[in-house]
Every structure is written in C-alpha cells, then in structure tokens.
Amino acid sequence: MSEHLTQKLINAGADVVDEMLEGVIAAHGDKLHRPSPRSVVARHGPRSGKVALVIGGGSGHEPSFLGFVGKGLADAAAIGNVFAAPPPQPAIDAAVTVNGGAGVLFIYGNYAGDVMNFDMASEMLSLDGVEARTVLTTDDIASAPRSERERRRGVAGNVFVFKAAGAAADRMAPLAEVERIARHANARTYTLGVALSACSLPQTRRPNFEILPGEMEIGMGIHGEPGMRRETLRPADAVVDEIMDAIFFEMDAKPGDSVAVLVNSLGATPLMELYILHRRVAQRVAAAGLKLHSSLVGNYCTSLEMAGASITLMHLDDELQALLEHPCDGAMFQVAGK
C-alpha cells in the first residue's frame, strides 16, 4: 500500500458529509430541504395520497442518492457516513416527513448494513402505524452468480429503478403497485463495472486497495470490494465488449427489444472516456438488433475518486419505457416532459 496521503479538497475528514449537505442545500434549496441532519427531502413531489419513496445509502457515491430526490423521483433520501449505511433515524425522519398516508417504500442497494438499518427503521415506523415496504436493488452482475440474483449488490442501475418507481408513485399508483414496478425494474437492470484505480476515504486519505499500473479489475464494487478478476488493461472497445458480452448473456433480449443505457463514471474517469465507451456500447446494441431507447452518460453512482466506469442496461418493455419517459425534476437528474 502507498504510504502518502491522497490530496482532497476537504476541511476536516470527519466533517465531509455534513459540509457536503450544507453545500447541496445552498445550491439546490429550490428543490431540496433538510428536515434533520442526515435526511434530504424534495420540496415538490411529496403530497397527500401519494406513496412516499425513500432511498438512501452511504455517502461518497454522489449524485447517488440525494441527487435523485425530486418530483417524479424519490421523495427523500437517508444519508450515511462515507461508504456506510445510514442509521435508522435519518430513514425514519425522511419517511415521516414525506409520508402522504399511502405508505412508504424504501428502495436501496442490497448491502448487509443497509438492510439491517432500514429494517430497524421499518420496525420503528410500524410501531407508529406507518407501513413501510422494501425493495432491494441487485443489478451488479459481478457480485454473485445468476442463480443467486437476490444476493447481488445494488450499484449504478439503481437510478433506473428509482426513476421507474418514482414515476409510478408520481402517477399516484398504490403502494403494492409501486413496489411491483420497482421489483420489475430491478429484475430487468444489469450493471458491470471496471476499476482502474483505488479510492481513498476522506478520514484516512489512504488508497483502500491497490491496482498496479497496466491492470484493471472487472466487477469491482462501488466501495472497492474486490471484483471478479484482475486483467491487463485493454483498449476501451475490448473492455466494453467483455462487459456487453456478460450483460447480453444475462439479459436474454430478442432482436427488436429496446434498452436504456447508462455509462457511469466511478468518479475520476472523464466524460471523454465515457463517450468513447458509449460509442462502442451503441455499436454493440445495434449489432444485437436492439433499439437504443435512451442514454445516460456521466456521474450517477460514483466511488469517491475511483477511476473506472460501469455500464448498465435496462431491458425495457412498454411499461418501463413509459415510466422512464415520465418527467422528473431532481437536483441532479431531470427528464423534460414531452
């Protein structure tokens, strides 16, 4: 491990999350407010009779999760420490603030810590008569075999699940229906990433793993969890081909089907490289006889300053396509109405 401290534009390492949230509210106060220190709530969107959609997770993945709070998206987010699940209290604060009397749906990535904390939040809410259900996202195909889909972790594909469920809730679908749509969206979303360099926690400022020059790691998790395998770094097209082969194998799409694509930076990889990746993704989608419905290219689910990218495909049907096209207005993600 390298012994030098990484360079970051921060003040005290212990203050990064709270200072970030102060900045987010200062910048996006027209769309977001902060009813408690670690919860962020949409100003427009939550309303009586609407299912309350609450998302959340550790910090360090921005714009996940707070950037996807807004009308037509999530109503609120619970914010954890860097790479750590939020405690139950922020999730409870968020849920109570946005509860419209139609129930609460928690959607978050499948990690042991998140599950324990959100489950405790659900238990405490139920004591107050608030019904909260949970959908776990499991889009990372590197994290468990296909036969154990429920063990996989949630990564960048979260954004498609939040988008679909948020649209359904905005259309005033009841809780069971929003839950069904979230599960359906998650089941048709597939992500695989590649890491080129480590990230470092603000509190330690030391790289939390090592990737040697000339190497890449396929399937590395968004907290630096080791992936499927180490390989020699290859040109972008070859990397995309390996990822797309794995996703197509899982997705089982038929020619003529539509897909939505997300090419996501893990933090340090610039847009230039993301578009070079997307160029090849689009070629592969076309070559498979699939229709490219829409693309997201940029920072959606990062891992601090990690270099690398992930590619997500959502296998659309008419229902999911309509939900993706529904307008939304988050602080860091918008879809305009048609």
Binding site: G80, A85, P88, Q89
Partner: protein
C-alpha cells in the same frame, strides 16, 4: 470486592453503572488506537471503513454511557446502544447497538451487579449480535469471535479472550456467506475477518477492565 461511593446511590458494591461506562471508554480507546489497522484489514476484503465505524461508534457510545453513569446498568447500556447506532449506521451500528441492548437487559435496572456476573454480559452481547445479524459460527463474521467467547464465559476472562482470539484467527480459513465479504468467495482466504478482529479488541478491552476491578 471493593466498595465505594457512587453519587446519589450511597454505598454500592460490585460492578456499578459508572464501571460499565468506564468499560465502554476502555473499548473506545482501544478501537481508536487500532482504527487505521482495522481499516487496512477491511480494505483487503471490503470497503476499508470498518475501523472508522467501530472507533466512531464506541466513542459515541462511551460519551452517552458517561452521561447515563449516575443511573442504572441497563440505562448505561441502552444509552450507549442508541448513541452507537445513530453515530455510525453501517453494519457495526445495528450489530453492536443490539449487543449493548442485550447487555443492558442482562445487567438489568439496578445500580450495580456482582462483578462475578460480568461474563454474562459477553454472552448477552454475543446473543444480540447473532439475533440481529442472523449469522452462525463458521460464516466468517464477528460471530466467530463472539460465540466462542460467550461459550467460554464460565471459564473466566482469560479463557474468553483466548477463545475470541482463536475464533478470529480461524476466519482466515473460512469462506464468507454473510456481509460484504461474502461476494469475495475464496479470495478472502488467508485474511482475518475485520469484524472478528475488532470483536477481539472489544472483548479484550472489556475483560481486561473487569479483571482490574
């Protein structure tokens, strides 16, 4: 057994609420001293934040415990649990908060308990961790340190420490099925589980303090 004055409680003998709070301070000090080492251990198999969660969590727990030290043992345990949970979240938050709540229940709403009963607190904490995390021994988690320590409770403090350390060491040869490490499969082999390593530190700090009383 020593006797001493506890403000507001008159003469109280045995393991007092103030002692319990002091025990948690010893744990916090130990974890702070091993913070970076635990992060490095976690970086090998996970996301590298375990030392932060443990150090921050027990620092908050110890602070809350001190504020509750004039009350009952159960009050100290529950205050520490709540503070730990809300300070960190992560996996350590719910697991150790539940452990402390179980210890609080075992200690009960009394100002002090016989020092000889303190091993039962380790057993209660282990039970809390198993209840919340739903892990069994052999799954490469902190349970691999806590369960053997709890089983060794009748043999005394030194036996509990030895059992915890041996249990943690055994995780090097285990493949995880729970927690983030579970996605690693065989790649975690040869590395001690960070949750088991920090469990040994917690058990060490508690039993060393109790031994000194």
């Amino acid at each position: 057994m020593r006797r001493r004055d506890v403000p507001g409680c008159g003469q109280v003998s045995g393991f007092t609420a103030a002692d319990f709070a002091e025990s948690l301070h010893r744990v916090a000090e130990t974890l702070a001293a091993h913070r970076d080492e635990l992060c490095r251990l976690d970086g090998v198999v996970g996301d590298g934040d375990h030392g932060l969660a443990m150090a921050d969590g027990f620092a908050a727990a110890a602070k809350a415990a001190s504020e509750a030290a004039g009350g009952t043992l159960a009050g100290v345990g529950n205050a520490a649990a709540k503070a730990l949970l809300n300070a960190v979240g992560a996996s350590s938050g719910p697991l150790y908060a539940t452990a402390l709540m179980h210890a609080a229940k075992a200690a009960g709403p009394r100002a002090a308990m016989p020092l000889a009963e303190t091993p039962a607190l380790i057993a209660a904490m282990a039970q809390g961790i198993v209840t919340r995390g739903k892990a069994a021994q052999g799954e490469r988690t902190m349970v691999d340190a806590w369960a053997p320590a709890a089983a060794a409770a009748p043999q005394g403090y030194a036996a509990m420490r030895a059992a915890a350390a041996a249990g943690a060491e055994a995780t090097k040869a285990m493949i995880a099925t729970k927690g983030r490490t579970s996605r690693l499969g065989e790649r975690a082999l040869g590395h001690i589980d960070p949750g088991a390593a920090s469990a040994v530190l917690v058990i060490e700090a508690l039993t060393r303090h109790w031994e000194s009383l």
